[in-house]
């Protein structure tokens, strides 16, 4: 299993009144061809910021402050902006949660996809348009030639997300980053879009980073899982392993707090307290104050992400 893209010790933060909010605090990840890595966590844990770092699209005033992102033998963080632009779309592409805000409302969907192709490939306008129509067909849009002339507002939410996916795969990227791609969609549409993503990944052999807060989506879609909490990865393992033998107390609590179809319980497990302020992280383990098994030693230093079983790493001195 060779890594297509490797993130090493990535740091990014936002300046705030009393210091820096460390949104991504030493994240390391590796994405392999044809595999899906599910990046899971609750709002504000840094999962979307990690994704934006991969494309160097961190919103101002946020700044990447350290680490390396290795792709095709180069560190994306040191590339000149002009070269980085060639990587976006053709090397690493992204799908966002809300297709209506990511698509241009005054251009037809066909011309938006054609433009994305023309930016990266030496093709004529006619060829780019034909390819756009073929892509709309590939992502399961009925009557693709007619739909290509539609504007985004003329399509339903599910169809718009398919257009986003068509645009993302238009230049055959090796890495696809999908940030909550189905969160804004209805359940029946959500299942269709996830099935489409899986199908495309198998057909094109892309490496996928799937960002989600839904452990059910991860169970169905991911090969490997990384759990994030307060800017750090606290556990990482193959998907079956995470669900069968979660080691970090945060992962365990997350799994128990999720209502599951057909597993009726009287009360859901809840995690006491709330997520710490990223600008005022406690010394040591950031989960310490909410953790049922914390001991004094947990406050000494942030626990390293260590291998606890073959292929299973957790950042907990008690796991």
């Amino acid at each position: 299993m060779t890594a297509v893209l490797e993130v090493q010790d990535l740091h990014m933060g936002f300046p705030v009144a009393h210091g820096t909010a460390r949104a991504v605090d030493g994240v390391s990840l590796s994405l392999a061809r044809g595999r899906v890595l599910g990046l899971v966590g609750e709002s504000g844990c840094g999962k979307s910021m990690t994704a934006l770092c991969l494309l160097r699209l961190v919103p101002s005033p946020g700044r990447i402050t350290g680490g390396r992102i290795l792709f095709q033998g180069r560190d994306l963080l040191t590339l000149p902006e002009r070269e980085m632009r060639a990587v976006r779309g053709a090397g690493v592409a992204m799908i966002f949660q809300e297709p209506m805000t990511a698509l241009n409302p005054v251009l037809t969907v066909g011309s938006q996809i054609a433009e994305a192709i023309a930016v990266h490939r030496p093709v004529s306008r006619r060829e780019a348009w034909d390819r756009a129509v073929a892509l709309l067909d590939e992502v399961g849009i009925p009557e693709p030639a007619a739909r290509a002339t539609d504007y985004p507002h003329q399509l339903s939410g599910g169809m718009r997300q398919r257009v986003m996916i068509a645009m993302a795969i238009s230049c055959e990227p090796q890495v696809l980053v999908a940030d909550e791609p189905t969160t804004a969609l209805d359940v029946t549409i959500q299942a269709d879009i996830l099935a489409l993503l899986r199908d495309l990944r198998e057909r094109h052999g892309m490496a996928v980073l799937l960002i989600t807060h839904d452990l059910g989506v991860v169970a169905e879609q991911a090969d490997d899982v990384a759990i994030m909490y307060a800017g750090r990865i606290v556990e990482q393992a193959p998907v079956a392993e995470i669900f069968a033998r979660p080691r970090h107390p945060y992962t365990q609590a997350l799994l128990r707090s999720m209502p599951r179809l057909g597993h009726h319980v009287d009360r859901l497990a809840q995690i006491p307290g709330h997520v710490p302020d990223l600008a005022k992280l406690p010394a040591g383990c950031a989960f310490r104050e909410r953790c049922p098994i914390a001991v004094d030693a947990c406050g000494a230093a942030p626990p390293p992400l260590e291998e606890k079983a073959p292929g299973h790493r957790a950042a907990c001195i008690r796991a």
């Binding site: 359940v187 807060h213 059910g216 009726h264 009360r267």
Partner: protein, 329 residues
């Protein structure tokens, strides 16, 4: 069965489209199209459907926050429609709503104590000092710190704001609460906190709840009975077990099949539905679900199926898969 606390009979809501001042509306959206449902005292009815199916409109009709264009709403056996304004206002104390968006539903300029107290102030319950004390009590009941009353909504996280919304709804001691996507905007661990809180409050206060959600996992967790809506109509209703273990309507089955797995490698039957939800402005004739239904027959294109009850109160609106024990469909 005991007398229902809340009941709607053939309730209907049309919203005019395209009209304006001095101009006749061209068409109307049938957001809720002839729904009859009853909720027993102390019961939680889960109301499920996708966006635009009319579930939120139905919730508001049950509280008469919207005027129905047809049908009737009964609360404790009395119609809410003919009530004089003063009596309606008195009735309002007994029914409350918790909204989805904990950011948009709290006035940012008011202190939390005043937000929670507002219902009591309007209904002039007790003295001002008593009302202030009651607001603090309520904040404590929903698990917020005692000093919360003097702070503003922006100082709280999403989960805490949802607790404020719940405290506000409970202030006037309602018997009936509509929770409209009350946990949908929250993270899983916070969602678990709020679901547990709602469950505790239901038991302690004997609340009757209409729990509106698009999330079938959450609905299974909280509901005694479940109703499924599609394009303004209830297509299936029954006890939680009847719906989750013995769903009949093809739409209900498709919804259940699209819920993500609970564990990796779990094999599930996928039931893809072709096409999108049709426009409620111009719904298909016959059964509104027939263009997407894999089992549709000739009859489904012509006749609208009635919601017919079978054994144990399980009712289904489907020609092909009627409720077990239903007759004369």
């Amino acid at each position: 069965m005991t007398a229902p606390l809340v009941e709607v009979r053939g309730i209907e809501k049309r919203f005019p489209l395209g009209g304006g001042w001095l101009r006749r509306a061209q068409a109307s959206v049938r957001a809720v199209d002839g729904v009859s449902l009853a909720i027993a005292p102390g019961e939680t009815l889960g109301l499920v459907g996708e966006s635009g199916c009319g579930k939120s409109t139905l919730g508001r009709l049950m509280l008469r926050l919207l005027e129905p264009t047809g049908g009737d709403v009964l609360f404790e056996g009395r119609s809410l429609l003919g009530l004089p304004p003063a009596e309606l206002r008195a009735m309002r104390r007994r029914m409350q709503i918790v909204f989805q968006d904990p950011y948009g539903s709290l006035n940012p300029r008011m202190r939390v104590g005043a937000i929670v107290r507002e219902g009591l102030d309007i209904h002039r319950v007790g003295t001002p000092a008593e009302r202030r004390a009651r607001a603090r009590e309520l904040l404590e009941l929903v698990g917020l710190p005692p000093d919360a009353a003097d702070r503003h909504p922006h100082e709280f996280s999403g989960g805490q704001r949802q607790r404020i919304g719940i405290a506000r709804a409970l202030a006037v001691e309602p018997r009936f609460v509509v929770a409209d996507e009350a946990v949908s905007a929250l993270d899983v661990s916070v969602q678990a906190q709020i679901l547990n809180l709602l469950q505790d409050l239901r038991r302690r206060l004997g609340l009757t709840t209409l729990f509106i959600s698009h999330d079938l996992r959450v609905v299974e967790h909280v509901s005694d009975r479940v109703a499924i809506m599609y394009l303004g109509r209830v297509v299936e209703v029954g006890s939680r077990d009847a719906i989750y273990a013995g769903a009949r309507h093809p739409y209900t089955r498709a919804l259940l099949a699209s819920v993500p797995a609970t564990a990796p490698g779990e094999k599930k039957e996928r039931m893809a539905l072709p096409g999108d939800v049709p426009s409620p402005v111009n719904p298909p004739p016959g059964c509104a679900f027939h263009p997407r239904c894999p089992f549709a027959e000739e009859r489904c294109r012509r006749e609208t199926p009635a919601l017919a009850a079978g054994a144990g109160g399980h009712a289904v609106a489907c020609h092909v898969f009627p409720a077990p024990g239903a007759i004369g469909v």
